[in-house]
């Protein structure tokens, strides 16, 4: 039996600003991880990644990132994704500044 599927989100960087973005269920690119579509099925994950990769005019480098379900949407399972969600720790720069 295959191992339990770890839920995923599709994430990438915005083409112009480079901001970290997430694919939502209604096909928007959101800068807010809470809005991301949490994908629980491997076949659906592959499909969503393919769809994301076709949108090269909006984003760069789409990939599937492991997430855990949380009270406010997907939560990163690895610190790298946690830093990507927020921005650098030495300055209040990037999208954390713009969303404030």
């Amino acid at each position: 039996m295959s191992r339990a599927f770890i839920p995923k989100v599709v994430t990438a960087n915005a083409l112009i600003e480079g901001d970290v973005v997430y694919l939502t269920a209604d096909d928007r690119w959101s800068r807010d991880l809470a809005e991301a579509e949490l994908i629980n099925d491997p076949a659906h994950a592959d499909l969503r990644l393919l769809e994301a990769e076709r949108r090269g005019g909006e984003i760069v480098g789409a990939y599937l990132a492991d997430m855990a379900p949380g009270a406010n949407g997907p939560e990163p399972r690895h610190f790298r994704e946690d830093f990507r969600r927020t921005g650098p720790s030495n300055y209040f720069h990037g999208k954390q500044e713009e969303c404030a």
Binding site: E17, G18, D19, G56, G61, R80, R84, P88
Partner: protein
């Protein structure tokens, strides 16, 4: 310093036009990312964790006031008001927008700067001693040779697709401040027994996954043979270097796998073929370049004002004792400006700070600035009578931290706060260690100490050659920091020794404090440096302090 000629300007203008067009075609959808990526990397534009990053070359770390001012202007207009100076004497902008990068490149070209070959498997920006042209211990200024190498290597048709990136460092001084032994090629300017100037040529140095100290491939190379000999080395590497495995592609592995004797024989043979192809034009060019690096007209003036300020003002005195180095001209000093204020990000300078440093260089410093591989800025030529005014201006710009060469003068790479290759953070670790030793008021007592931090095995933070090195890793999804001791970046370069298992993010600063307390307890006298104590007593007392729980706080 070297001024661009018509050829340089035309070359840059056409490259920038080309890239503007490529960016436009990426944005309008005519180029895919796969097509565009190599093009942007050729122009120094990376995509990092949170944004693009533009890496701008500062050849051999030399700037004048106009360039520094323009770097500040760019930071303010197109970035977040600051820039990050790196261990390769470059500057990185962390927040450029793709659509605005062509404008940034045009602004750089206005002052004769670019981002070409700051990425890719090419010959990268040539680095040099940051005290070049000023140091009292210097045989000759290495920068004319570094500029010659820059011109030769920029857009060199044979060397655009090397097996891997290729870095050259030059020093004109027996005391190596340019870490030449960790470069793919290191050049040390020396004189032979007859007194003729030349180079000791080292090859195959490098840090990263497999750290290696460079080996001597030619003990004495006459000055005039430099370019044919460099071409012979890079040519041999270009054919022999491995392209099957990225981790074995650097020339250090080529040297390691083939042996220095075989490499030397191949290089010498290649050199004999290439040498006749050099007609001597390179030496004429070098002559022209040298004229542009003529030493400034040093003034002579009384230094009473300096002596008076030194006697009267303890803050000024402290800064002088820590941040000044000996200059070759009487009455002058080399002033290092620390970009390591306790708790700040190592190597970062704001646009306003860049303007202040540019103004000081223009007003007091013969219009010269340097970026050091230790991520600080240097005013290489300051007459001592001007030092009180320089210090006062630095103080009001928050640039007068007196910690050059001390434990808080930490090299830290961007790590996981910016870099997409990182396995852990480096900046906050540096910030916390600097704050800790400031609070303990111990750093002057500790004395000379090189602490270097990298956020992954690529070792941009030079951790292998730090007296104390810290390497951030990802151990099963948690940040973990390995500590090495006893590394050295100078002419006696040594790779540090790993102490044992790593430490969690919130344990690192305590671990460093235990190492330092061990040193303070063990040193034979306050004059014995950390490195000397380590060499004398070995690893055991430090390992005990780090891992033997019984002895902690005993």
């Amino acid at each position: 310093m070297y001024q661009y000629n018509d050829f340089d300007r035309a070359f840059l203008a056409s490259r920038n036009d080309q890239f503007r067009d490529q960016v436009q075609r990426r944005i309008d959808g005519s180029l895919t990312e796969d097509e565009f990526r190599p093009l942007r990397l050729m122009n120094g534009l990376y995509l990092q964790l949170h944004a693009y990053m533009l890496r701008v070359a500062i050849p051999y770390g030399t700037l004048n006031s106009a360039k520094m001012r323009q770097l500040g202007m760019i930071a303010e207009r197109w970035d977040r008001g600051y820039g990050h100076f790196t261990t390769r004497q470059n500057i990185q902008y962390n927040w450029p927008k793709l659509s605005e990068v062509p404008d940034i490149l045009d602004a750089l070209a206005e002052v004769g700067m670019h981002a070409i070959q700051t990425s890719g498997n090419t010959i990268r920006n040539v680095t040099a001693d940051h005290f070049a042209g000023a140091a009292a211990d210097e045989i000759a200024d290495p920068r004319p040779v570094a500029e010659l190498i820059r011109q030769w290597s920029t857009d060199h048709p044979e060397f655009q697709f090397l097996p891997r990136k290729f870095k050259i460092g030059v020093t004109g001084s027996p005391n190596d401040r340019a870490v030449v032994k960790s470069h793919d090629i290191g050049l040390r300017m020396i004189r032979n027994d007859a007194g003729e100037p030349g180079f000791e040529v080292l090859v195959g140095g490098g840090l990263g996954r497999t750290p290696m100290i460079a080996k001597v491939v030619r003990a004495f190379l006459p000055r005039a043979d430099l370019l044919p000999y460099l071409e012979a080395i890079v040519g041999v590497y270009n054919l022999l270097g491995r392209r099957d495995n990225k981790y074995k592609a650097r020339v250090k592995i080529t040297v390691h796998e083939n042996g220095i004797d075989k490499i030397r024989a191949m290089v010498e043979e290649e050199f004999l073929k290439r040498k006749p192809l050099f007609s001597g034009v390179d030496q004429e060019v070098l002559g022209d370049i040298e004229a542009q690096f003529a030493p400034p007209a040093f003034k002579s003036a009384p230094i009473d004002a300096f002596d008076a300020a030194y006697a009267a003002d303890p803050v000024f005195r402290d800064w002088c004792d820590t941040n000044l180095a000996e200059h070759k001209a009487p009455g002058y000093a080399i002033a290092s400006i620390s970009l390591k204020k306790h708790g700040a990000t190592p190597g970062d300078a704001s646009a306003e700070q860049m303007r202040v440093m540019a103004d000081l260089a223009e007003q007091f410093g013969h219009d010269e600035l340097r970026i050091s591989h230790e991520q600080n800025v240097v005013l290489p030529h300051i007459h001592k009578s001007d030092l009180p005014a320089v210090h006062a201006a630095l103080k009001s710009a928050d640039l007068a931290t007196a910690n050059i060469g001390l434990i808080s003068d930490i090299i830290a790479c961007p790590g996981m706060d910016y870099c997409s290759l990182a396995t852990a953070r480096a900046i906050p670790v540096a910030q916390e260690i600097a704050e800790r030793f400031k609070a303990l008021k111990l750093e002057h007592d500790i004395g000379p100490l090189k602490l270097k931090i990298s956020g992954c095995i690529n070792a941009c933070g030079h951790h292998h050659v730090g007296h104390i090195g810290i390497l951030g890793l990802d151990r099963a999804g948690v940040e973990n920091y390995q500590i090495t001791l006893g590394g050295n970046h100078t002419e006696d370069a040594v790779i540090g020794e790993r102490m044992g298992p790593g430490f969690a993010y919130d344990e690192v600063t305590d671990a460093i404090e235990r190492i330092i307390r061990t040193y303070l307890a063990e040193r034979s006298s306050p004059a014995e440096t950390f490195l000397d104590t380590y060499r004398r007593i070995g690893t055991a007392p430090f390992k005990a302090a780090l891992y033997d729980k019984e002895t902690v706080d005993a």
